[in-house]
């Protein structure tokens, strides 16, 4: 178990380093000189050179990378070339908002998928089970932003029950915070829940055919008792894989949903950075998103080992 964890940890650290190089190299390859952007088209070459020196962009790329990556290791994302404010605190604030958005969406997805998928598997021979499968198929076909717009139309515009957008920090007004996040959570969670339902259904169906479920019934358990005690944990192994992939998708989906609902999260910050040509800010946000995905994979690997003794 310890060895397995150390291995996964080594993979996590190595891939973070590789990701750092990749993100930096990609941004460095993009055309556009931060000093020229900051000074505009009428700047004198001398002024541009002076600003380059101040930004440190006149140095060779490896030195710039070492500086940037070294800073990251203790939480320093550098100072924006555009706004001259430190990037780290901005990312920190926004990360919390996005994390709440994504995790809330995931919880809703799980609350839908686990009962619906299990039900659809247990009743796979009768019409209601088939209907659930069909409904989840429809859900898969709807992108999250469209679900968001539909939800806004129904609950905010027609029913006027929930705000159509905006974000209130929890410290200011917990109720407004919750109401504001409900629609974004739903638009992420409903779609992901539909996708996940199909995976839960097929995982439970597979497990229902397993010999050890028959053994459990031969011991005196009923059909559902056997599934509950012996089936669900086994079925959760493939579901965890999909869950990890989905969390990564949700993170990306959040970028769009934040736009739809005017939520100041990482996605919003990223799009602002792109629009304002704030290269260092974009680089920082992308790096944070990449590391988040790597961390999710790490957690998935650790979860496998907890669930399945064969992997330890």
């Amino acid at each position: 178990m310890i060895l397995y964890l150390l291995k996964r940890l080594a993979v996590l650290l190595a891939s973070t380093a590789v990701a750092g190089v990749a993100v930096f190299a990609f941004m460095a390859l993009l055309p556009g000189d931060p000093a020229e952007i900051a000074l505009g088209v009428n700047a004198t070459p001398d002024a541009v050179a002076a600003l380059r020196e101040r930004f440190g962009t006149d140095r060779p790329p490896p030195a710039q990378f070492a500086d940037w990556f070294g800073g990251l290791l203790h939480g320093d994302f550098g100072t924006s070339y555009v706004t001259s404010s430190p990037i780290g605190p901005q990312i920190g604030d926004r990360l919390g908002v996005t994390a709440v958005l994504v995790l809330g969406g995931m919880v809703i997805a799980l609350l839908i998928a686990v009962p619906a998928g299990t039900f659809a598997a247990v009743h796979h021979r009768n019409p209601l089970g088939v209907a659930i499968s069909a409904a989840s198929q429809v859900g898969i076909a709807i992108p999250a932003f469209l679900a968001g717009i539909l939800l806004v139309f129904v609950f905010a515009v027609k029913a006027q029950a929930l705000p159509s957008g905006g974000y209130v920090p929890i410290a200011e007004d917990p109720q407004a915070w919750l109401l504001g996040l409900l629609l974004p959570w739903l638009s992420l969670g409903l779609v992901q829940g539909a996708v996940l339902t199909r995976y839960v259904r097929s995982a439970v169906l597979d497990v229902m055919r397993e010999d050890y479920l028959r053994t459990a019934r031969a011991k005196g358990r009923g059909r559902m008792g056997a599934l509950w005690r012996h089936g669900l944990r086994n079925a959760s192994i493939p579901v965890v894989t999909v869950l990890g992939l989905q969390l990564a998708t949700l993170l990306i989906g959040a970028v769009v949903v934040e736009r739809v609902f005017v939520i100041p999260g990482l996605g919003d910050l990223l799009l602002n950075g792109v629009a304002g040509r704030d290269l260092l800010l974009v680089q920082g946000v992308v790096m944070v998103l990449v590391v988040a995905v790597l961390l999710i994979n790490f957690v998935v690997d650790v979860t496998y080992a907890v669930l399945d003794p064969r992997l330890r």
């Binding site: 021979r125 010999d211 053994t215 031969a218 011991k219 358990r221 064969r310």
Partner: protein, 304 residues
């Protein structure tokens, strides 16, 4: 103790087992032999109430005064694992891979009302009883850490835990190495209460059982004491089966039963064996009854 009468198993319109009747007395060991598809496993599963989805049993089977067939699951599940237990063919997949072996043995006891701590102690005793080495340590391991033979012993420990009156074994040694098979058979013979032992291996039946039922095409075609059935088979199928399993001199052709077992529902009307039987006549188009006291057979042209 177990009394089966007119047991019929159907999947939709197809009859898979037809009118099977037999009794097992307390402590008696009965073999059920036949080829794949003869209906022997379905017969056993219907006694456990564990038939696959879409397959239904009718007729009666009574175990110590309780009905096993045609009653809702809730009414018989307290019998399973307590009055009647089953060991399955495939030891590699029959245990939950995520649960410690000791816990899986203890589960069958706590499920039927034994306190948890007591069940745990007894689980180790049971593992010792089925001759697993270092039982206390083994109880803490997971199934993937055991060999096939060891897992099958664990299954046997589970089956014996509540001291059931009847043990059903469905080809318990087929998936095991030959060397392990013999030890397993000796163990089953030693610890089993009344036994219904399913196999396609004649030698195994001869070594474990006192009485044998021969199944073909979902019917019992011959039954009787092992010695009589094996030395003086009456039904032509049994005769062919025994001939095919004898060692033959070098250079001679292996005797076989001509043709192959038809698919379910494709057996001939009348005697199910008539399309493969060298002695079949017009008369075999009507179904023969299983007749005879002690040694019974269902054949119009029995061997003698």
């Amino acid at each position: 103790m177990l009394s089966v009468d007119g047991l019929t198993v159907r999947a939709d319109a197809v009859e898979l087992v037809r009118e099977v009747s037999f009794d097992i007395a307390p402590g008696e060991r009965v073999g059920l032999i036949g080829e794949s598809g003869s209906g022997k496993s379905l017969t056993a599963l219907s006694l456990m109430g564990l038939l696959p989805e879409g397959v239904r049993a009718s007729g009666t089977a009574r175990l110590g005064g309780r009905d096993l067939v045609g009653v809702p699951e809730g009414r018989i599940k307290d019998l399973r694992g307590r009055e009647v237990s089953m060991v399955f063919q495939e030891p590699m997949t029959a245990l939950n891979p995520l649960m410690r072996v000791g816990a899986q043995v203890a589960e069958v006891m706590t499920l039927h009302g034994r306190p948890r701590a007591e069940a745990r102690t007894r689980a180790v005793e049971l593992l010792d009883r089925v001759r697993l080495p270092r039982p206390a340590q083994l109880a803490r391991s997971y199934p993937h850490q055991l060999s096939g033979g060891q897992r099958q012993r664990v299954m046997l420990a589970i089956a014996l835990a509540n001291e059931p009156g009847l043990l059903i074994c469905d080809e318990p040694t087929t998936a095991l190495d030959v060397t392990v098979q013999k030890q397993m058979l000796e163990l089953i013979a030693e610890v089993a209460p009344a036994l219904l032992f399913i196999t396609h291996d004649l030698a195994v039946v001869a070594s474990v059982c006192e009485r044998v039922l021969v199944m073909y095409g979902g019917r019992v075609v011959e039954s009787g004491p092992i010695r009589e059935v094996f030395t003086r088979p009456r039904h032509r199928y049994t005769e062919g089966l025994l001939a095919a399993s004898k060692l033959t001199p070098r250079g001679t052709r292996l005797p076989t039963i001509k043709g192959s077992v038809p698919a379910a529902g494709r057996f001939p009307e009348g005697c199910v064996f008539s399309n493969r039987c060298p002695h079949a006549t017009q008369r075999c188009e009507t179904e023969p009854e299983l007749t005879g006291e002690g040694h019974a057979h269902a054949c119009w042209h029995p061997a003698d």
